[in-house]
């Protein structure tokens, strides 16, 4: 051991003087994951209405937020206010909607609905408990003033984001 130390010292003295840059790499895995759970479907209970309400023949889209660390993120979910795909519409579409918890993995998450913040078509939830939370988004589109939607395919987008706070 001693001999090895001497040898290394000697080599150090013999080396020429150099400048080196070392790279430091780190990976940060997200502690919040957003996963689509259930695809939404619009029902067409009357000619002028498209609705995700199950009683109207629709299906509410559900998105799941998995949070590993509590009180570090908020969920920001927006219900649609326009169609991403539709036949040509000559009249205005009135959008309404709401977002709420549909399932929780911890009873404390039941308080998310009472504490949610809503503005425009956006709803924000503070994710104060670690675990999984399922959020359900209801939306309804009313065409014109009791006007029938033209035939065709209609698509809309629900936006869900996990934002660090």
């Amino acid at each position: 051991m001693k001999k090895l130390f001497i040898l290394l010292s000697t080599l150090g003295l013999a080396a020429s003087i150099n400048a080196e840059e070392m790279e430091v790499v780190g990976n940060v895995a997200s502690k919040c994951v957003v996963i689509p759970d259930t695809a939404g479907i619009y029902g067409n209970p009357t000619a002028d209405v498209l609705s995700t309400d199950p009683s109207d023949g629709g299906v509410d889209p559900v998105v799941r937020f998995d949070v590993i660390q509590a009180s570090m993120y908020k969920a920001k979910i927006s219900y649609p206010i326009e169609f991403s795909e539709s036949p040509t519409l000559n009249d205005i579409v009135n959008w309404t909607g709401s977002v709420g918890t549909s399932q929780v993995s911890d009873t404390s998450m039941s308080g998310y609905d009472a504490a949610k913040i809503e503005f425009d078509n956006v709803t924000e939830f503070s994710l104060t408990v670690a675990g999984s939370t399922w959020f359900k988004t209801e939306s309804q589109a009313d065409y014109g003033y009791g006007k029938a939607f033209p035939g065709g395919v209609y698509r809309a987008v629900v936006s869900a984001e996990c934002i660090a706070i």
Binding site: S102, Q103, V104, S105, T107, M109, S110, G111
Partner: protein, 282 residues
């Protein structure tokens, strides 16, 4: 998810099988585990997955326990408690790893509510794993399975050994003696039965039979049976009309003449009779 959870796959091989039970709480808040888990040797439960919805007053206290009794002792082998006190009702969805607890420990399961509130739409699933042929005798399709019937084999006998020959001789001798004994018993039995029969017949003839009354009753029964089957001619039972039956042919009184042809014989007999009587005095 329920569709995926309900899917269970089984195949008999030495590879491990993973599966998920059907909803244990589909018929109520109590369930019997032997009806839920496959009864496979070496099966272990890895996770308990449950979901239910609570309806309650947000201010009310409510505890919900999802649990399984410990089949090998007291208490519970699994118990998860959700405290809904002071919270609004919601749907809870939990997956709880239990670390591979053996099937023998899983007692009956239940969802118990403490406080005020109602549990709706409960779903409880168990994920499990086992090696189907961990015990090769558990299924005939398992490699290494031995048919128990083949294990029952007669021991091989050396027919040339002295012991075997001696045993056979003894057995035959014993058999002959036994047969003779049985024949003797049979003969004695037959002789005794014959003697008894003769004795009964004599008693019957002499009217001493104890069972004479019984015999009479049996005869009556036999008679009735014959009558019922119309075996006897009906004329046996015809009644003969009463009254006086007078002779139709009557001989009128008159003088009967001697038979002249018989006179000679009568005289000859008389003479012979006299001679015989006289001969005793001569």
């Amino acid at each position: 998810m329920p569709v995926l959870l309900a899917y269970c796959s089984y195949s008999y091989s030495s590879e491990e099988v993973y599966g998920t039970t059907t909803n244990a709480a589909n018929i109520g808040l109590n369930w019997v585990m032997s009806n839920i888990l496959p009864q496979a040797t070496g099966l272990t439960v890895n996770n308990v997955i449950y979901r239910y919805t609570t309806e309650k007053d947000p201010e009310a206290d409510m505890l919900v326990h999802v649990q399984n009794e410990n089949a090998q002792g007291n208490g519970y082998i699994f118990r998860s408690t959700d405290d809904w006190s002071g919270l609004p009702g919601n749907t809870i969805n939990k997956t709880i790893p239990v670390g591979g607890i053996g099937i023998d420990f899983w007692g009956d399961g239940s969802i118990e509510v403490e406080g005020f509130g109602t549990v709706l739409d409960p779903e409880v699933y168990y994920t499990y794993q086992y090696v189907p042929c961990d015990n090769p005798q558990s299924n005939p399709e398992c490699p290494g399975y031995i048919d128990p019937l083949t294990l029952i084999q007669e021991p091989e006998i050396d027919t040339s050994s002295e012991d075997y020959i001696q045993e056979e001789l003894d057995r035959k001798a014993n058999t002959k003696a036994q047969r003779d004994e049985e024949e003797k018993k049979e003969r004695d039995k037959f002789a005794k039965a014959t003697e008894e029969k003769v004795r009964e017949s004599l008693e019957k003839m002499l009217g001493l039979s104890i069972g004479a009354g019984l015999q009479e009753a049996q005869d009556t029964l036999l008679h009735n049976a014959l009558v019922a089957t119309n075996y006897l001619p009906r004329t046996y039972f015809e009644q003969i009309k009463g009254g006086e039956y007078k002779d139709v042919e009557m001989l009128k009184d008159s003088t009967l003449p001697d038979n002249a042809n018989a006179r000679r014989v009568n005289f000859a007999q008389d003479i012979m009779h006299q001679k015989i009587v006289q001969s005793q005095y001569d």
